[in-house]
């Protein structure tokens, strides 16, 4: 058989530090949940690094096999061949066996090679690898609380924001449709992060991850901060990096709520769309401001800090409304809200977040006079806004 008919694929799943493959645990969980009629080959794979799949239609076979083993998000994947993974590793510039950490909740060991394998499967270009590596490292930071994100009944997902000139070089969209389909960097980098969570952390929906509904952002939630239409200092500079650095910001997003309008509309949505869970645990929310709206605000002389302060001060819900919501009404007496919430309840008004700095603000969206903004509530604890400088020596 010729090489052309065979695919040499690397396995995207992980072993624990103890050597055990997480798939053996996942098989038990999937069996308990009655998922093995669909995922018919869970844990049925050779326990080695590389597998050879012979043609004809080797690529189709890899896809079918990986899906049945539970290694995909349901969409077709790019077979992670040795050649493709090697190219990804070269672009990443890190040694393949370097251990980045263990991915919760099943504690698969995350090596640079495993990240590259999942990036190839997601459809990443080689030059995306430094961003995917930065994202993987962010997921493994304790404050990201990957265990919670993977196992909660809420629908939270990582939100990736790239700030820096790299975004343009990678063609990562920050304009029309930045959160929608069509741009490979937005789609594939976010998808790689999901596959890493899925295949290395074992966050299989309905087997380990019991998010009530999930959300489309669990396929990918990744965009760039717009460089040209941002009238304020960039996110990276705000976070203490240099203007010419490239920085990936990772925080947790519960959903994306469209807001047509300006600051008052955003504040109103924040007041109502911030769940009492969010107020229970605190956390950092995100607001995306349309270029047009940002320009109007800047023309009025408002700084980014002014915008955050305004949103904080105006995203109030009344004590009466708050008490009608799920947690205070159903679980009264069983939960203790933080001091800032209790103080607000006494004063009659509770803001969406504790303080203005808990709102991440970026400018992105279509660059015509349209007011399409977005609010992304958050979930869980601890407060999480992880910034990773991207090392791009090879790009």
């Amino acid at each position: 058989m010729s090489e052309a008919e065979a695919l040499w694929v690397l396995l995207p799943t992980a072993q624990r530090a103890s050597g055990e493959w997480i798939d053996d645990t996942l098989r038990t969980r999937a069996d308990e949940q009655g998922m093995l009629d669909r995922l018919t080959q869970v844990a049925a794979f050779p326990r080695q690094r590389v597998e050879v799949v012979r043609g004809p239609n080797a690529s189709g076979q890899v896809n079918e096999m990986f899906y049945r083993r539970g290694w995909t998000d349901g969409l077709p994947i790019v077979p992670p061949t040795t050649n493709r993974v090697d190219a990804m590793l070269r672009a990443g510039g890190q040694q393949r066996n370097l251990v980045l950490g263990e991915a919760d909740p099943l504690k698969g060991v995350v090596t640079v090679e495993k990240v590259a394998i999942n990036a190839v499967m997601a459809g990443c270009e080689d030059d995306h690898m430094p961003v995917v590596l930065a994202a993987a490292q962010a997921l493994l930071e304790p404050e990201f609380n990957l265990r919670g994100v993977q196992t909660t009944d809420e629908n939270v997902t990582p939100l990736l924001i790239l700030s820096g000139s790299l975004a343009k070089r990678l063609h990562m969209n920050s304009r029309f449709g930045a959160l929608g389909p069509g741009w490979r960097a937005n789609a594939a980098i976010g998808r790689a992060v999901r596959l890493i969570m899925h295949n290395l952390g074992g966050g299989w929906p309905a087997a380990v991850a019991f998010a009530g509904l999930g959300q489309p952002g669990r396929y990918s939630l990744c965009l760039a901060e717009d460089e040209e239409f941002n009238p304020w200092e960039s996110l990276r500079e705000e976070l203490g990096f240099a203007a010419d650095d490239d920085v990936l910001l990772v925080q947790r997003a519960e959903s994306v709520v469209n807001v047509t309008g300006g600051l008052d509309d955003l504040a109103s949505v924040m007041a109502s769309a911030t769940s009492s869970f969010s107020r229970l645990h605190g956390g950092i929310v995100a607001v995306i401001i349309a270029p047009y709206v940002a320009k109007l605000l800047a023309d009025e002389g408002k700084s980014k800090a002014d915008v955050k302060a305004y949103l904080h001060a105006n995203s109030m819900t009344t004590t009466e409304e708050f008490k009608k919501s799920w947690i205070p009404s159903r679980l009264a007496g069983q939960t203790k809200f933080p001091r800032w919430v209790r103080a607000g309840l006494e004063a009659g008004w509770v803001p969406a977040v504790e303080k203005p700095e808990d709102i991440t603000v970026i400018v992105a969206g279509g660059d015509i006079p349209i007011p399409q903004c977005a609010y992304m509530p958050t979930w869980g604890f601890p407060s999480c806004r992880i910034a990773k400088k991207i090392e791009t020596a090879s790009i």
Partner: protein, 466 residues
């Protein structure tokens, strides 16, 4: 590493092992091999030697202490078996190039082409042992995998051995599994490499080179058996670079050193294996790990007294940090090896010197000032901390009494605790007056010998092997 913690856990006592950042991966794999994959470890950030006291204190209090508390108070999850292919399973079918790529990609090869271990090729090796294929020779750390006749043969095929080398390979696997050897140290940072020496008529049966170029590749038995050793460490013991083999530099495998038994018998010196209780004429392999050494060129002189000062000086110059194995860590386990070319050994024997006479002379004369010895094990390496002199250690019973005879820091002290700790082999170009010194890695690969068991009807089988 981690053996003390494993022993404590086995006795039902909770443990927490302090492990430096760079060793966490090795720790995890070692723990698996010890049968306790969830052995609790507490990370010590960075490398302790490069931190100030304050940095180290901060790191320990902010990271390590918390982990120690968790380790000692939380229940550890149970171990789980990790499935592996069955022994006769075919793991890959394809061309020579494909098999080689497959083995390499899966970490089963050293980077040179391997001979694909087909069932037929393995069976040819099995014909050269009377033991059944599933016979267990021992257990090898860190993977805690059994050394079996089967996996000895598979790796023998892969290394390019001939089937008739099988009895040597089996003896080597047994020696590797001997707890006294300490195979689990094979991934330590000094990166020592094992030297296999061989004695007995099997040297000629298998056509080992024991003359000119004895330590160079070029003879199939010497070369491929050396290669087998490293493949076996990789595939059965489980040592992998960038994972649990932490050798800082390391080096390629050493080819097998066969002694020149013709010369030994002419001068009536015992073979190397005699140091381990074996007799002349026994087929024996001896293994030991050495970090390095050098050739001692042009040993000039007509009588032993003229030649030996240079050899004593060579022992001194090739010995530094290894002194920790004489005093400090596993006292008395430093056993350097001196390889003499036949003409050197013959010249000494002609003057009436036995091998033991040579060892005694070297023991008496290869000496260094006590203060220099102490410098190696304390000031230079910090291997032995606490600031005690060797005199004080000897008084406390923590060093051989040899080192407690005087308090004079300029007194001359021996490199080893006993003349017999200086190993001597005879091999190499019979006509050159060169020697070679290997300095040894103490208990981290202690000299271990095994008799080679030949199968029934060895001579006929050998004749038929080609």
């Amino acid at each position: 590493m981690l053996r003390a913690s494993a022993a404590a856990e086995a006795a039902g006592v909770p443990s927490s092992s302090l492990v430096c950042d760079g060793f966490l991966g090795q720790g995890a794999t070692t723990a698996v091999g010890l049968g306790l994959p969830n052995l609790p470890m507490a990370k010590v950030p960075g490398h302790v030697d490069t931190q100030t006291d304050n940095e180290l204190r901060d790191n320990l209090t902010s990271v390590t202490v918390q982990a120690v508390i968790e380790n000692l108070t939380a229940a550890q999850p149970a171990a789980i078996m990790i499935p592996e292919p069955g022994v006769r399973d075919v793991v890959m079918e394809g061309s020579f190039e494909e098999i080689n790529r497959f083995f390499y990609e899966n970490g089963w090869s050293d980077g040179l082409p391997i001979v694909p271990p087909t069932r037929a090729k393995v069976d040819a090796f099995l014909a050269f042992t009377d033991l059944p294929a599933d016979h267990i020779l021992g257990k090898l750390l860190p993977d805690n995998r059994h050394a079996t006749i089967w996996n000895v043969a598979v790796n023998g095929v892969m290394a390019g051995c001939r089937p008739q080398y099988m009895p040597v390979l089996v003896a080597l696997a047994e020696a590797m599994a001997d707890p006294g050897y300490g195979v689990e140290h094979s991934g330590n940072t000094p990166g020592a490499e094992t030297l296999i020496t061989i004695n007995g008529p099997i040297i000629k049966d298998l056509e080992f080179n024991y003359e000119q170029g004895a330590l160079r590749d070029g003879f199939q038995a010497n070369t491929t058996i050396g290669r087998w050793w490293r493949l076996y460490l990789r595939n059965v013991a489980g040592f992998l670079l960038h994972q649990n083999d932490k050798g800082t530099f390391g080096n390629t495998w050493r080819v097998v050193l066969a002694e020149n038994e013709d010369v030994l018998s002419k001068i009536d010196w015992p073979p190397h294996a005699a140091d381990f209780g074996h007799s002349r004429g026994d087929n024996v392999v001896t293994i030991s790990r050495f970090t390095g050494g050098d050739v001692i060129a042009s040993v000039f002189g007509q009588k032993p007294e003229d030649m030996l000062p240079y050899l004593a000086d060579a022992l001194i110059s090739q010995t530094g940090w290894q002194l920790i194995f004489t005093v400090g860590m596993a006292d008395g386990s430093y056993t350097p090896l001196l390889v003499l070319s036949p003409i050197l050994a013959e010249t000494m024997a002609k003057a009436g010197w036995s091998k033991d006479d040579v060892r005694q002379w070297l023991f008496d004369n290869a000496r260094i000032p006590a203060k220099k010895f102490e410098q190696y094990i304390t000031e230079y390496t910090n291997f032995y901390s606490g600031g005690r002199s060797m005199f004080e250690l000897a008084q406390l019973g923590k060093a051989n009494a040899l080192y407690g005879e005087s308090q004079d820091p300029d007194r001359l002290v021996p490199l080893v605790c006993d003349p017999m700790d200086i190993q001597i082999c005879v091999s190499g170009d019979p006509g050159r007056t060169n020697a070679q010194v290997f300095s040894h890695n103490g208990i981290l690969g202690f000299p271990t010998a095994r008799a080679i068991r030949l199968p029934n009807d060895w001579k006929n089988k050998l004749a038929g092997a080609g």
